[in-house]
Amino acid sequence: MNAIFADVPLFPERASTTAYQVDALFFFLCAVCGGMAVLVAALLLYFSFKYRRRGEDDRTPRITGNHRLEWFWTIAPLFVFVVMFVWGAKIYTSVSEPPPDAMEIFVIGKQWMWKFQYPGGERAIENLYVPVDQPIKLTLASEDVIHDFFVPAFRTKIDVIPGRYVQIWFRPTKVGEYHLFCSQYCGTNHSQMIGKVFVVERDDFRKYLDGRKATGSLADQGWQLFLKFQCNTCHSSNAEARAPVLEGLANNMVTLNNGKKVRADDGYLRESILNPEEKVVQGWQPIMPTYKGQANEEDIIKLLAYIKSLKPGQTPSRNENSSPPLDAPRVPPKEKIEPGDRKPPYQPEGQNGKP
């Protein structure tokens, strides 16, 4: 008997800071609710035994209620509920606000696989490697239907919704290998849209990334796309530019032509690529064509990484080195453009061991 049950887990592993918070609340809820359940069950059993019918001549008292008692059990639970609500809301809010030093990893869900893109441009499917004790912010997008990114050991879960970005963050606390599930039903192989999250030491993480041999960082790849889509035709830094300069734009406030102010976050940038006429920056004409159908979710993630990495004076100007028109036979642009044209756009905080 013991042998069978030795391997049966009864409680999931805890591998993130969130997991401890969620479990603490869960234990509290179990205690309160369990207490109530035991109380009700005990009363049911006790009354059933004590007041069982002893004969057809049993007399019962006429008790029709007791307002004080009834008001008590109407009002009293509310106080307990307030605690449950506030505690739960606190955890939930903290999970939706990533710390500023979080490392950003992009996740794309599609039927039926998970794709990951690291800031250094490394790509992976199915298995996500993250360094221990480092806050990780995931930005997630879906290419088809709603999926859900669920890591039980982290106690975090978020639906990945087509048409927009969602975010979640966690701080892994324990080295190990954990399940990754898609927990929103997404079709035939829903139950096989699974993977593993490997929490590894920082050094191992660096080694892992080195082994992925990226063709340039995410921002580098974005830069290639930027040229491929000829974004620099309009988004150039020179005087005759027909579109806003993108340098230093990301995550700052911009004023739209209807006077509203919005933050140029990932969602805004994504929308501006796919639905450019929707939120036009004040002072510019809505002339940009949509890139819907040309840029897929992965491309947009790369472009975003590039735009976010752009510092003043780094926008490539149009010259004879500019990339050929869209879909022309591609030569790696890195070799065509002089190194002096731009500075390396992105360095992932010295973690990236690449030259």
């Binding site: 048409g163 927009r164 969602v166 976050d265 969602g267 805004y268 929308e271």
Partner: protein
């Protein structure tokens, strides 16, 4: 529902008011109102709908039960719209 008949004159005047309000609401749409067209249109619509309900549908002289049913429908519509919009109007953070 067994009270005396409403005189037909009432119906004709309500009808005249409804037509006038229709012309008004269409007329207003030719003025530059910015974002307010729908709001104004809905407000006039509420007046028209009330006229129809109160006089043509005899709600004015109906039993409390009919009022109950009509108001329940409206109340639940407010719940549906209000709580759904409570999501959409507070979403900007991660919204696109």
């Amino acid at each position: 529902m067994s009270e005396q008949l409403t005189p037909t004159k009432t119906y004709y005047s309500v009808f005249a008011a409804l037509v006038a309000l229709t012309l008004l609401t269409v007329g207003v749409s030719f003025f530059e109102l910015g974002n307010w067209h729908t709001t104004v249109g809905i407000l006039i619509g509420v007046v028209k709908a009330s006229l129809v309900a109160l006089f043509f549908m005899h709600l004015l002289h109906s039993s409390k039960l009919s009022w109950l049913a009509a108001l329940a429908g409206l109340f639940w519509l407010v719940i549906l719209m209000g709580l759904t919009l409570s999501d959409y109007l507070t979403r900007q953070v991660l919204d696109f």
